[in-house]
Symmetry: C2
Subunit: 207 residues, 2 copies
């Protein structure tokens, strides 16, 4: 049984550590790198080596940034009084791919997940609460945009309760909202699962 040359093996093993990449894909990616120009490999390698030093979390919303404040929090044209709370930066990017939303964000970098030992204090909930406490009543709405699954729902519920706790004594009257549940666009009723259908029916709107 033969193995790859050490350099290729190390690169493939590194790829294998990344999410969703198995042994064969890892090898395929490593082989593919060999076809790329040396200059591009040099540039990519350098970026990887320096990425941790360069990339920080935005001191306001915890989005990735190379400055102190991310480009969204720094944008005067956005509504800084509406905050959408997302689990990850990838969720934020989903909203940002279209013209869906003009407020700002708060990135939790995870969700409460007791089965995987992720407690409320392991994600950036406290930072959200502090941000709202320090805001002195300008915030109008907090949109809880965690994922529509069990952990996302539990995380949204936990944050809602924490928000209520600070809202009452401080007499803040922002709205707390949650993304709508329903049928994804383009879906086929015949193949929709029961819970989605139920939510779509319960949430039906005037047309």
């Amino acid at each position: 049984m033969s193995t790859l040359p050490p350099t290729l093996k190390k690169i493939a093993l590194f790829f294998e550590r990344l999410p969703g990449i198995g042994n064969k894909t890892a090898n395929r990616l490593a082989f593919y790198l060999l076809r790329l120009p040396e200059r591009d490999l040099k540039e990519f390698g350098d970026e990887v080596i320096n990425m941790k030093a360069r990339i920080k979390l935005c001191s306001i919303c915890l989005n990735f940034t190379e400055k102190n404040i991310c480009e969204i929090c720094d944008d005067k044209n956005r509504d800084h009084n509406v905050i959408t709370v997302v689990e990850d930066v990838s969720d934020l990017l989903s909203f940002e791919t279209g013209d869906i939303y003009k407020g700002v964000y708060h990135v939790l970098h995870g969700r409460i997940d007791p089965l995987n030992n992720i407690r409320p204090e392991d994600i950036y909930i406290e930072q959200l609460l502090r941000r709202i406490r320090e805001d002195k009543g300008k915030i109008r709405e907090i949109i809880l945009a965690t994922n529509p699954d069990m952990e996302g729902e539990a995380t949204a519920m936990y944050i809602k309760n924490k928000l209520r706790e600070i809202q009452e004594p401080l007499k803040m009257d922002f709205k707390i909202t949650r993304l709508a549940y329903g049928l994804p666009i383009g879906a086929n009723l015949e193949y929709a699962d029961y819970m989605t259908l139920k939510k779509a029916m319960e949430g039906r709107n005037k047309f």
Copy 2:
């Protein structure tokens, strides 16, 4: 519409160039790198930067190696008179994952594919013919193990004809064989496609 910080963006764009990786996966991989220890990123970055300089093609079979001759061609315990011709190093690795084969290989690094402008002279066929010509009749068998699809079949056919051309004048009498077609192990007859079933029937063996 917000974008990623430049370093992350560059890393994600690089991932997106790799086969089978789309925009969202590329972002996810770049985010994941941020969670890894700086030391590991340094090591991986260095390997990527240096890989092209370190990795060569084996001067005999064109497998990847960091020496002049790959570890398979250098192995005295293998049968050097049986050569399996594969399209890519990943195919070679598939045979090497088990105790399937003890001969040596020839890696074509591609297959003839006129629709994608890949001609016989664009892959390593000439090197195979030269190797056999210079072998002076010790080779007993050439196993054509290109993929069981249209391009793989055409490549095998092309090589077979070329082998016949050198075989006759040089009075070499090695066998030319092709991998068996048939039902994959664990397959369900009900879901097998027509061509596979036809091949499985034609190639039926005494039991």
